[in-house]
Symmetry: D2
Subunit: 367 residues, 4 copies
Amino acid sequence: METEKKYASVHYAKYLQLDKVMGAQHLRSVELGKPAHDEMLFIIIHQVYELWFKQIVHELVSVAEMFDTDKVEERNIGISVSRFDRVIEIQRVMIDQVRVLETMTPLDFLDFRNFLIPASGFQSFQFRKMELLLGLKKQDRLTYNQKPYSSVFSDSEQKELEAMENGLSLTDLIEKWLERTPFLELDGFNFLDEYRKAVKNMHDKEKASIRETSFISEEERAIRLKMLAGTESYFDEVFDEKKHIEAQESGSIKMSYKATIAALLINLYRDEPILRMPYELLRKLVDVDETFTTWRYRHAQMVLRMLGKKTGTGGSSGHDYLKSTTEKHHVFRDLHNISTLLIPRSELPVLPDKLKRELGFYITSKK
Amino acid sequence: METEKKYASVHYAKYLQLDKVMGAQHLRSVELGKPAHDEMLFIIIHQVYELWFKQIVHELVSVAEMFDTDKVEERNIGISVSRFDRVIEIQRVMIDQVRVLETMTPLDFLDFRNFLIPASGFQSFQFRKMELLLGLKKQDRLTYNQKPYSSVFSDSEQKELEAMENGLSLTDLIEKWLERTPFLELDGFNFLDEYRKAVKNMHDKEKASIRETSFISEEERAIRLKMLAGTESYFDEVFDEKKHIEAQESGSIKMSYKATIAALLINLYRDEPILRMPYELLRKLVDVDETFTTWRYRHAQMVLRMLGKKTGTGGSSGHDYLKSTTEKHHVFRDLHNISTLLIPRSELPVLPDKLKRELGFYITSKK
Amino acid sequence: METEKKYASVHYAKYLQLDKVMGAQHLRSVELGKPAHDEMLFIIIHQVYELWFKQIVHELVSVAEMFDTDKVEERNIGISVSRFDRVIEIQRVMIDQVRVLETMTPLDFLDFRNFLIPASGFQSFQFRKMELLLGLKKQDRLTYNQKPYSSVFSDSEQKELEAMENGLSLTDLIEKWLERTPFLELDGFNFLDEYRKAVKNMHDKEKASIRETSFISEEERAIRLKMLAGTESYFDEVFDEKKHIEAQESGSIKMSYKATIAALLINLYRDEPILRMPYELLRKLVDVDETFTTWRYRHAQMVLRMLGKKTGTGGSSGHDYLKSTTEKHHVFRDLHNISTLLIPRSELPVLPDKLKRELGFYITSKK
Amino acid sequence: METEKKYASVHYAKYLQLDKVMGAQHLRSVELGKPAHDEMLFIIIHQVYELWFKQIVHELVSVAEMFDTDKVEERNIGISVSRFDRVIEIQRVMIDQVRVLETMTPLDFLDFRNFLIPASGFQSFQFRKMELLLGLKKQDRLTYNQKPYSSVFSDSEQKELEAMENGLSLTDLIEKWLERTPFLELDGFNFLDEYRKAVKNMHDKEKASIRETSFISEEERAIRLKMLAGTESYFDEVFDEKKHIEAQESGSIKMSYKATIAALLINLYRDEPILRMPYELLRKLVDVDETFTTWRYRHAQMVLRMLGKKTGTGGSSGHDYLKSTTEKHHVFRDLHNISTLLIPRSELPVLPDKLKRELGFYITSKK
């Protein structure tokens, strides 16, 4: 039986179930006796988007499963990085694909737009799953037409979304993984203390230097001191856990203090072999976030172009809503903001030799 | 002498003046004895951007010259479309190129960032020329650090910018060209009257239909009526020149009434041979605007990623400023908004046969 | 009834038949109890490709219908250009999408490759339709595994392909349209005669000039004369219909003499308003061909990367076959080769004023 | 002095030496009194390409320096991967940029083409450096016009190229690094022996299975057995060092036996933490090679489009030469071909637990 299955002669069209996929383009304009050439594109491109969403969900779920454990296997970090790489390549295609839809002109769209009310991309289930897996929380969502985003779905779909909302998202899992980072206090090296000293030292040197230099203009001296003062204030939150917690409470920061420190450490010492893949992972998360946001932005632009100031088929200004999401629906913004806290390599606290060796591979360290 | 010049044996490197171009990468980090590998990329990518800006300026100037006349030659519209096509391809490359710069990580940037103060992309002269040629006016600019944008340039550069500001931009020239469109009243066909009737007729039919239909839910009836009401109000400005002028005075519209009507006509009847290239031209302007805006957006994202909340080398938050320009520095937004006024082809006033023939080619019409 | 249909409340998921599309991913590896994560990508990306193929077929069929007439409407040329523009944007996405598949590594592919035998992209029906519509003829196809390409399809599919093969492809229809071009002999202006004179004149001047110049090196004189001689021989076929027919018989040229001359004329005088859109059409055909070929090339590269020298699931070396198709399955190569026959604008025969006026629009010419 | 330098007020235009870069566009057509609008693009795009070449050279040199040692530091592998990532993003831009040049039509090119003889991209010095750094050897180069490729350069340039040719390229350095891989025989695990057994075992099982299965068609049985036989023969070279050396002598393989085995091991066990970055490195080399080849291909296409069958300005058929280089000037083809030797993970020899632990990080292994 098994063998029979295994050696079943597989045909391309059957394997890909092309009868289903290629038979799923039913033009409303044809049904209503007013065939509109461009409706085919409208259907097909949305189906393509949905397929890509499904693929992204498949990747995100697989990564979430690898991180849903007390001890993430080293090898799984590498695998996760590869999967995010794939997600990013798909997102790049999703962005470029907007250009295909833009070959449909606003006038062409009007040929069938009226037949689609009230369908709307707002009703994409895969898209919501994608957002939830990444970690977009209900309370951080913009409301649209004064209704919860999930109200457009069936009961079973709503339940599935709710379960995901209550489960752990990638944001949560990555945070927990960061919090478990064993490198914050190692062999007598206290990262935060050393970092604090380095930052203070760097700023003091810089300030003295700016003040003493006689030949720079007062305007420029002012610019430089202003930049420095600004920079110093960002560091305060890192040096003072209380301030961080206040920022969390006010909503301006989401990530926990410990995870933030760990992400900072990984960014600063990413050249140590053991931190290389963790660093790549954090970087890919920032890429995913940025590329997703670019897609949202291009989507909003396309809607503006198609409709001008007209109301969307869903009954609200699509463009304004979509554009706001580029700002509000960032999920990994805290990782983005780690950049603020970086200091030049030349100012980095030097790792003790023994520690440095231990951050390498077993085989390498043995020697 | 001429022949000598003509048959001068041309060498690739000399022709391209590669000695100059390839000798123009002077790393501050090397000069200061702290070589930073990534500074080379930083220099080269900015030089590449400047070269592309220069090319875009070259194209825009050539189009402006073709439109700076009382009677634009038919053939020049086709040529202008090709040149905008080129501008758009360059812009696409400029957008994708951001990814190259993003391979430089924030930590790598810190290795030499301090050596560049107070240099800033804000000081790009080519970029300002590009904006002025497109039609960005002084009064519509965001201010940055409370100073006029031109204060960072030399006297002669300031004068050149001022001259451009006082001269005619593409926005002005296109507006004038639109205003001269001879098709608004032709052979007894008054476009605006016919269009007004068609819109009213369309809305009346639609409203009646929505009200009479018994089986749609009240919620949906409301959505549909709301969409319709919204749409009707957009049309008011077109039907009433006074309202248009008010909107111009308030700043929400820039383009003149007559040019707006002409752009609308061209969009609606673009399938008539004589309107095809004018339509393509309007479409390309929207493309240029949209792609330029996308570039601004990607640029802003990249700065956020590089600096987090840090102050830019110019002394201000680069990201916030750049992001605001995506919203405010649109130049062809009125052309974008023509979409609002389009009506389906099935509702379009039918052109009289004679007129239709006249909108074709001479050779075709003769027969 | 009609109204009921019209106001049916349309839901996104139902409209797009997402139950079918999203339910069409059946992993063989899961069925056989050896789940391979990457099989999902393999299925989805192929489905996406098939959807794009279907869209391209939709566009090509619509253009073919517009050209399947004795007199192509002027407006339809503009519409065709837009549809080819769309095809090209889709092809660009198809090319970039190869990168998504390349995120699947060869080792990952091996996890399920054995379960797919003998399925192969060779069995894509949509792809064959696309090739046939463009104009790829049976006799010009490479054979693969010594069998006709259609042998892998069902009887009804084979019949459909045969009917297409016997019908008119875009290559045929464009050729017929070119042959009907009315501009080859107009108002006493015989294009071919004038062109012949211009070419001869240009070459004579050039030759004399090269010979007389004393200061260029003998090597360079030789290069220039060799270039010139080469160029002259290309022109022979155009000046002599018999040679053209011989070339057609030998298979090196496909397009008829008359169509070739017309394509040349359109390319040379494309700035005349009436020739602008015909020129754009010819250009888009070259774009479609080039982009399609790039896709074939990238596809071949990807197969090489995935399999190295292994035999494809279809039982033959996929890479070698695919790479050969980039060379052999060009359909618009004759249009590409028109470039050989172009001469600089400065050498172009000047059109008589009257003719020039007649190549413009009726309204413009009247004045 | 140092401080003075450090706090020198840096201006954007001066820092980027824009006077040089933006002053390096000297149009021959303008000089000769026949201004051709498109010559500006021709110059600028070539300058942009040269700048990108310089950047790629900068990256390749830096990697070569890191590998030119007896013991490559672990951290440098990660850094190299990032640099290749940058090279790949640049190459992607270089490929997309061809589209910008293609907005220049063949007729537009003719307006100034004659003024450029005999300049040719063949004279790009940066490009040759790039090829040499990657590892393209003199004996593997196609000849062009029967002269050594370096004959077009100045004496000092020729010397520089010769020195590079005699020095170590990335191909050489990577080969040496692979040969030093310490994992081929570790703690009693002999990789090659175990791999040989696994392959044989896999093939035997498969053959038996194919033969015994009664229900598959004879045709398919034949396909499967043919695939298998083909596969077996590829493995012979790996199992038998003599055959490998023969293949090297015949020129079909370049990489040494030991390096090949190491590359195979790294590919198969890439999920072990210590092999992750080495694997990424090998993968990036394949990417660089593939993307470079795509660029060559697009370049060749563009030349065909521009010139048809005309002779290039360098005096030979540019297109044919360029297309051949896509086939012949691959440098990392042996790494590509590793794919042939991969076996499914389910058939991989299992690593002893102790070894597996040792392939992880020190800190992880300690526990």
